[in-house]
């Protein structure tokens, strides 16, 4: 019977019901897509960093884990000091540049010989390394997304480059230019953002890091095995704060819309509430009806929101093929939970107000 009353009530106000459902769907979609995008990017970047084939990432002091896109603050000469550490086989300095104009592109400025020494070399689909300062190496995903091939021009960070080679994706970045070009573009000469370090024995990572810490006590030294997982984990304060903010904003949207919807509903239906009270309906009965009604709105909104998140993820990937949206089951659960919570919070005051109505006055309400 409750179900019938709730459905009849919702159907009697189709526009408001639809808007409320859409707001909850928006809440869920916002959470899922933004979280999916952040974790997708960090996971994917992590995977690529892992895929470099190095054993240790050597970063400047206080560097963040995310993306390793710091300014090029270390003197490139550190390379030789790192090499001196026992167990180190090869060191590749990298200068990173970031292009955020379409999606998020990381460009590595590298010395091909040193980079190959650490990574074991690229798998070349076409062409080869840059031979001039206006040449660039791109990965196959980028080439496919931008529909370019060797000899074509691409514009990166307001520079026109000629594609000199296309490589298999998965080695640190999608775009590679020469160290010299990177230095010219950033104006930072003889500096590096990070060093990839290859060891003689990969199993000695922790021992070697221990040795390095003695020489470079303040620097960021991270083993690269399981790096992607680390990027995904909750041990990333900056990303967590970002996601928390998004969730908070999304929940606020849900709370406000549900509140407004339920508030106007109970005001509009004051008389009906009076009727139910005159029939012997208790306060709890009234509160229950309002909560159940908002729960129905939330549930439909959740289903719609999850569905549209997947659609939007597809769309994002279609427009920006280099981006990945990771919609995980645990975040679907979390987003649904947040949507329900906002339904509860949003209906709290309206339901209390409805229950507190004096039955006689409610019946007299026009």
């Amino acid at each position: 019977m409750n179900k019938k009353m709730i459905m009849a009530g919702l159907a009697a106000r189709p526009v408001r019901t639809t808007v409320s459902i859409l707001a909850v769907a928006l809440e869920v979609t916002l959470i899922l897509v933004v979280v999916g995008l952040t974790s997708g990017i960090s996971y994917e970047t992590g995977k690529r960093t892992e895929g470099v084939g190095a054993d240790i990432m050597f970063q400047p002091p206080n560097s963040s884990l995310i993306l390793a896109i710091n300014n090029s603050t270390m003197p490139i000469a550190l390379e030789n000091k790192i090499k001196e550490v026992e167990g180190v086989k090869a060191v590749a300095p990298v200068q990173t540049l970031v292009n955020s104009s379409s999606g998020l592109e990381i460009i590595y400025g590298i010395d091909p010989q040193k980079f190959d020494a650490v990574t074991g070399g690229f798998i070349w689909h076409k062409g080869g390394y840059f031979k001039a300062t206006d040449e660039i190496v791109v990965d196959d995903v980028y080439a496919l997304a931008k529909k370019v091939t060797v000899g074509d021009q691409v514009e990166v960070l307001n520079h026109k480059f000629k594609v000199s080679g296309i490589i298999e994706h998965g080695k640190g970045a999608r775009l590679f230019i020469s160290q010299q070009t990177a230095q010219e573009m950033t104006g930072m000469v003889n500096r590096a953002s990070m060093f990839y370090v290859k060891l003689n024995d990969p199993d000695q990572v922790n021992t070697v890091i221990g040795r390095m810490e003695k020489v470079f006590p303040t620097y960021g030294l991270r083993p690269l095995r399981e790096y992607a997982k680390l990027m995904m984990s909750t041990s990333m304060p900056a990303l967590d704060a970002f996601i928390e903010t998004v969730v908070f904003v999304a929940v606020c949207i849900g709370v406000l819309v549900i509140f407004l919807s339920m508030y106007t509903t109970i005001t509009e239906r004051t008389r009906e509430i009076g009727i139910l009270r005159s029939l012997g309906g208790s306060k709890r009965f009234i509160i229950g009806l309002i909560f159940q009604e908002s729960a129905v709105v939330c549930l439909i909104g959740i289903v719609l929101g999850v569905g549209s998140s997947f659609l939007l993820a597809r769309l994002v990937q279609f427009i920006f093929p280099t981006l990945i949206v990771m919609i995980t089951p645990d975040w679907i659960l979390k987003a649904s939970f947040f949507a329900l919570v906002s339904g509860v919070i949003g209906s709290l005051y309206p339901s209390m107000k409805a229950a507190a109505q004096d039955p006689v006055e409610a019946l007299a309400y026009e």
Binding site: I275, L279, G280
Partner: protein, 244 residues
């Protein structure tokens, strides 16, 4: 005979800001099981206020309202609600059907709130629907019914749970003469056939012929009452032998 309703020096004062309106100024009355009572009086004399108190919709300012022996004066909201749910049926001037539900569902809601399990219809309800001539209107919404039909649905809803007391505040106030007659005949029928105790407020002196007893009010007090059992003056309260 059992006193179903009794008021003792019942007073109700409304406060509008600093102004106090004494809607009821000491009402004493007793209504027994199976009575059909009309309450009349000029507008503003306190008829609706009295009905709200008799129906446990509000608490008195002073005095007592005994509903089936229980004084509602000291009851909290939950207890008042329970009295309404278990003992009272209301019929209003404005029908007060739930607009989004069909006639049948309006009745079902009342039964649902009452907590009656079992089938949606039982023999008693079937009989009442037949008597009210609305069995074939159950699938319609209030907006698809005439005023007279709506009021008959409201009556069916009010007695669906077999309340001890049926209170009707100007039930014919929104109806034309013909429908008023039909509705009043229904009340009399309910009273005769099921011994339903009914108190109804009316403005129309002509309608009083449908009732057994007439209570006239003026300015918050009863000015005349042709109580058919005046000798039965002992109050419920003065009968300690009877367990309340």
């Amino acid at each position: 005979m059992k006193n179903l309703l009794e008021t003792i020096d019942l007073r109700k004062t409304y406060k509008i800001g600093k102004i106090e309106v004494e809607a009821l100024q000491g009402v004493n009355l007793r209504i027994r099981e199976g009575e059909l009572v009309a309450v009349m009086g000029p507008s503003g004399c306190g008829k609706s206020t009295l009905m709200h108190l008799l129906g446990a919709m509000a608490r008195p300012t002073a005095g007592k309202v005994l509903i089936d022996g229980d004084d509602i004066a000291g009851m909290n909201d939950g207890q008042l609600t329970e009295v309404r749910r278990n003992k009272i049926g209301f019929v209003f001037q404005k029908f007060n059907l739930l607009p989004t539900l069909t006639a049948g569902d309006n009745i079902a809601v009342a039964r649902h709130i009452h907590g009656r399990g079992g089938p949606a219809h039982d023999q008693h309800l079937e009989e009442i629907l037949q008597m009210l001539m609305i069995q074939d209107k159950m699938g319609r919404r209030p907006s698809e019914l005439s005023g007279g039909e709506q009021q008959r649905v409201a009556i069916a809803r009010s007695v669906a749970n077999r309340p001890a007391i049926l209170l009707a505040d100007e039930p014919t106030g929104s109806l034309d003469t013909k429908n008023s007659e039909i509705v009043l005949n229904m009340f009399r029928e309910l009273n005769r056939r099921f011994r339903q105790t009914i108190i109804l407020v009316t403005h129309n002196p002509e309608l009083v012929i449908y009732t057994d007893r007439l209570i006239e009010m003026r300015d918050g007090v009863i000015v005349s009452d042709n109580d058919p059992f005046p000798e039965d003056t002992e109050s419920e309260l003065a009968q300690p032998a009877r367990s309340v």
